[in-house]
């Protein structure tokens, strides 16, 4: 009895090791995931990394160019913005909002979408029709317009941004999870579970969900990239967090206005946004390949 116990435990650990190997063998996971970890570190240690207070204004030092350009000041490697605030420090602190939105909004969207997708795919019939109709209606809105509308209704702020993203993007998860669930529900192992007499909720959660999970995990990573963009768009329009919190989108909005005499105020956050989105994208693509047992073979 004890032996089987040990054996089972060793099996789980072995599976975990095999999974870790598969993940590390995927260059996209290593590169994308590595950059995401770097961003997490920057967000966590922002007060130690940022050379200046991101809110400290000094109009005498306004629109200083980045290091290497004529007129640059030492101590401001990425220059300053129109109010003399250090661009690098604001960029570093902006990582916090970007990642908060990415993790929370993507998780919430995944939760809504997965629950509805599982139900639609497994139960079919009327439930599927109603959820499908809901997805259709949602997809007939331009997402950017809908997010702006929602934030305008909820009032600007981080909470509203997160809620808006979750309320809009659950359809991405719902459609994919529904299709996957329908495919899984036709498999033999589900028929076997039904024959044995497992209750339907147990089959859905313990049999089908683990097999749909790889797709969901990959989608969450992609959704994090999308959430960062949406937050930036909302900040750009002036509807995200209040203007005294540094965000990449807020910096982009200011940079767009003074682009002719302060291009770096736009270029720096845009580069950060670009790199972050690319990293989440690569991570998502890599995870999908590494976690999918069929593709791994």
């Amino acid at each position: 009895m004890a032996e089987t116990f040990v054996d089972e435990d060793g099996g789980a650990a072995g599976r975990r090791r095999a999974l870790a190997r598969a993940l590390l063998a995927e260059p996209k996971v290593v590169v994308g995931g590595g950059f995401v970890l770097f961003l997490v570190a920057v967000a966590l240690f922002a007060p130690w990394i940022a050379p200046h207070d991101p809110l400290e204004q000094d109009l005498m030092l306004a629109t200083l160019p980045p290091a290497g350009f004529a007129g640059a000041e030492p101590g401001y490697p990425l220059g300053t913005d129109g109010l003399g605030r250090d661009v690098l420090s604001r960029l570093v602190y902006g990582t916090r909002i970007a990642l908060t939105v990415a993790f929370v909004a993507a998780t919430l969207a995944a939760l809504f979408g997965t629950v509805l997708g599982l139900l639609a795919g497994y139960l079919g019939g009327k439930v599927d029709t109603v959820i499908g109709r809901l997805v259709d209606i949602w997809m007939a809105f331009p997402p950017v317009l809908l997010s702006i509308l929602l934030v305008a209704i909820l009032g600007s702020g981080l909470h509203s941004v997160i809620i808006a993203i979750a309320v809009i993007d659950w359809t991405r998860f719902c459609r994919v999870v529904r299709a996957e669930t329908m495919a899984q529900a036709r498999m033999d192992y589900v028929t076997a579970a039904v024959t044995i007499g497992f209750p339907r909720p147990a089959i859905l959660v313990r049999e089908i969900l683990p097999n749909v999970a790889p797709v969901i995990i990959a989608l969450v990573s992609l959704e994090m990239g999308i959430a960062i963009i949406v937050e930036a768009i909302l900040s750009f329009v002036g509807l995200s967090v209040s203007s005294d919190t540094p965000t990449w989108g807020g910096m982009i909005a200011e940079g767009r206005q003074i682009v002719h005499h302060g291009w770096w105020v736009l270029a720096a956050p845009l580069a950060a946004l670009f790199a972050a989105v690319l990293a989440f994208n690569q991570l998502g693509g890599g995870l999908r390949r590494a976690l999918d047992p069929v593709m791994r073979r």
Partner: protein
């Protein structure tokens, strides 16, 4: 076939009604009072009540919806609160700008994406791999980021194109229609057409690049599959050149799946006009939509959302019909 189309039409109408209901309810729970934003300080309560009645805000929500729906069905979308103009007239005056932009972007995306796919198929594995990697990059980056990168590149670093607006007012203002590009081309005013086109270059590219990447990937996959078919092998044995093989034989059979996807993606592109028009201060319905939301202009927002929904649904319908028409197997199904 006819019943299938009718079913789709009914389903589309139901979706559109759903969109209208959702946006109507959402807007009625807005805490901000649009009337409070437009009254002059010191207005009497009677004035406020009169204004409320004038915009139909003094009845219950279902009643308001019923009145609004009746109006819409008879072509009356109400009056914009912030601009004090007829909503339908406003939509009609701004829609052509967005349509010209979106269709130009679609054309650029199809040409560019098609070119990447065909060249990638002809190049073979090694060099094709580099093209795939570049395409992956294009695929990951959304229109918002492209638009701003273009601002930096083609607006500031190499200021080749104007950064804002649709036309330089000193070039021309005497248009008979709102389709500036089409009209100036049709009447042969090439200098005017060039100015309008120059204003469109950056927003068009920002919208077209992500779509081009999607088209390139799907079309290349379909081309790769088509190139393995027997009829291609036969043509190759008969001595047809690789270029002609791809262009004449494979492309014809690869277009179907690409077309279906392009349609869906075109609705995303149309949604992208909202923020891209904003970045380039381009006077289309997307830019107007952001202003409408910020000003809490309920009638205008409703009109705009309905217009977007209608366009999305029409595009999907058109694509389904086109795919069915192109594929004889689906036509009889």
């Amino acid at each position: 076939m006819i019943t299938a189309v009718l079913n789709r039409l009914v389903a589309s109408a139901a979706t559109l009604l759903g969109v209208a209901v959702v946006v109507f309810v959402l807007l009625r729970i807005v805490p901000g009072d649009p009337i409070a934003m437009m009254i002059a300080p010191g207005a009497s309560p009677e004035d406020v009540a009169a204004l409320r009645a004038r915009y139909g805000l003094d009845t219950s929500i279902p009643e308001q919806f019923w009145i609004w729906l009746q109006g819409v069905l008879s072509g009356d979308f109400g009056t914009s609160i912030s601009l004090r103009l007829d909503v339908l007239g406003l939509l009609a005056s701004r829609l052509p700008a967005t349509l010209e932009l979106a269709i130009a972007a679609l054309v650029v995306a199809v040409v560019l994406g098609g070119a990447i796919a065909v060249v990638g198929t002809l190049m073979g594995r090694r060099t094709g791999g580099a093209l795939d990697a570049a395409n992956g990059l294009l695929l990951a980056v959304p229109d918002f980021v492209w638009a701003l990168a273009l601002v930096l590149l083609l607006g500031v670093a190499w200021p080749l194109f104007p950064l804002t607006g649709r036309i330089d007012p000193s070039v021309a203002t005497d248009f008979h229609t709102r389709f500036y590009l089409l009209e100036s081309l049709a009447t042969g005013r090439l200098a005017v057409a060039r100015d309008v086109a120059a204003h469109m270059v950056m927003p068009t590219l920002a919208l077209a690049l992500p779509l081009a990447a999607v088209i390139a990937r799907v079309l290349k996959e379909a081309l790769g599959e088509a190139m393995l078919q027997d009829y291609v092998l036969l043509a190759r044995i008969k001595g047809m050149s690789e270029t002609r093989l791809v262009m004449q034989e494979a492309l014809r059979n690869a277009v179907g799946p690409t077309l279906a996807l392009t349609g869906v993606q075109f609705t995303f592109l149309l949604g992208g006009t909202v923020i891209v028009e904003r970045i380039f201060a381009y006077p289309g319905i997307g830019n107007m939509a952001i202003d409408a939301v910020i000003n809490r202009d309920l009638p205008l927002i409703q009109g705009l959302v309905l217009l977007f929904g209608l366009m999305f649904i029409l595009i999907n319908l058109a694509v389904d019909l086109a795919v069915a028409a192109l594929n004889p197997r689906l036509r009889h199904g």
